[in-house]
């Protein structure tokens, strides 16, 4: 399988008699993306007021994880032509020739329907509806509509990644309010600088497969400016839970310090114009989001323990 001109579909046909491995089905679920989605979903569950039976909380998290994985599988089915042309993705199960596209689609659709149905039956239908919206948004709005058409693809498409804490919150309360909206806004505003930092040093690969990422369409300097602008909006929004009383001073102080680090990284990308600075911001952005949500959870759990004492 050294012929790089082979199409994803014909590659899959070659593999039809061998069949995919279990690992290939797991790879379809994009486990690394899933881990961040599960973590932010957990944050929604922990931060929401009220009580959810621990078993049902685990079921809600499982549904969020499976739903996210399912949308990843459908994304890999639809984007198999793009994946075949990029070094980072050409060994995925379909372009790697280990799985037929139809199998990936069937797998993704089955898991999507299953995760929404179990969420509705076991937890509540508000959370199930939000999960269905998330999957639908990622598949139809981001993957099929925006990704190949506009450099704003990840700005609008980022909403799909921002829903999990809202789903977690809705699993506990049965509704959505200001705080899950804030959690949504944090991830929504975090997504563009995070992905554009990546696309700055992967621009060549995106251009080769005609995906109109911002550095490809508007240029690297424009992308760097947009990273700084979004970062300037993001950092104040991350601090808002503190003055609104949804988080304590420890979180507020940490959000200021972590935000200063994010802004430093963004301005460094703008000033230095190097791949090194972009890689640094990309790596820091993952740690940043993880720490923010971890701190929010610690804050909520600490307040809960104090309240119970």
């Amino acid at each position: 399988m050294t012929d790089t001109s082979i199409s994803p579909d014909s590659a899959a046909a070659v593999a039809a008699d061998d069949g995919p491995l279990v690992e290939d089905f797991i790879a379809l679920l994009k486990p690394r993306v899933m881990s961040l989605v599960v973590f932010t979903g957990l944050a929604g569950l922990v931060l929401a007021p009220g009580h959810l039976h621990p078993v049902l909380a685990c079921v809600a998290l499982l549904c969020i994880a499976v739903g996210a994985g399912a949308s990843g599988a459908i994304n890999m089915w639809y984007d198999r032509d793009i994946d075949a042309g990029m070094a980072r993705t050409r060994n995925r199960p379909i372009p790697g020739g280990r799985m037929e596209p139809g199998a990936a689609l069937g797998f993704g659709v089955t898991l999507s329907v299953g995760s929404v149905a179990v969420m509705g039956l076991a937890v509540n239908w508000t959370a199930a509806a939000l999960l269905a919206l998330t999957i639908g948004f990622y598949v139809f709005v981001y993957t099929m509509w925006l990704k190949r058409r506009t450099p704003q693809n990840i700005v609008i498409g980022g909403a799909a990644g921002a829903f999990p804490p809202m789903i977690g919150w809705a699993a506990v309360t049965g509704d959505v309010s200001l705080m899950p909206g804030l959690l949504f806004a944090i991830i929504f505003l975090w997504t563009p600088p995070h992905f554009w930092a990546l696309s700055l040093y992967k621009a060549g690969e995106y251009a080769a497969v005609n995906v109109p990422m911002l550095p490809v369409v508007a240029g690297r300097d424009a992308t760097r400016r947009q990273i700084v602008l979004y970062s300037l909006i993001l950092v104040p929004v991350t601090i808002v839970p503190w003055p609104l009383g949804h988080a304590g001073a420890v979180y507020g102080a940490a959000a200021v310090v972590l935000g200063a680090g994010f802004l430093y990284g963004a301005f460094r990308v703008w000033r230095e114009r190097s791949d090194r600075a972009a890689k640094g911001l990309f790596a820091y952005s993952i740690l940043y989001l993880f720490l923010l949500f971890a701190l929010l959870m610690v804050d909520a759990l600490t307040v809960g323990l104090w309240g119970a004492a």
Partner: protein, 49 residues
């Protein structure tokens, strides 16, 4: 170069191993779902929400 008979046998063994692996994974998933639905039912019947 390996004898054709041996290669065919190796291929068949490889396919059977993959099939067995997939069947075991399917068994684990179905078993897991049965346990999951059982636990959810018990929690719901106990008034858990």
């Amino acid at each position: 170069m390996a004898a054709p008979g041996k290669t065919d046998r190796d291929d068949r063994n490889g396919r059977e191993r993959r099939l067995r692996q997939r069947n075991l994974a399917m068994l684990a998933v179905l078993g897991g779902l049965a346990v999951l639905f059982y636990v959810i039912t018990i929690v719901k019947m106990g008034g858990g929400n």
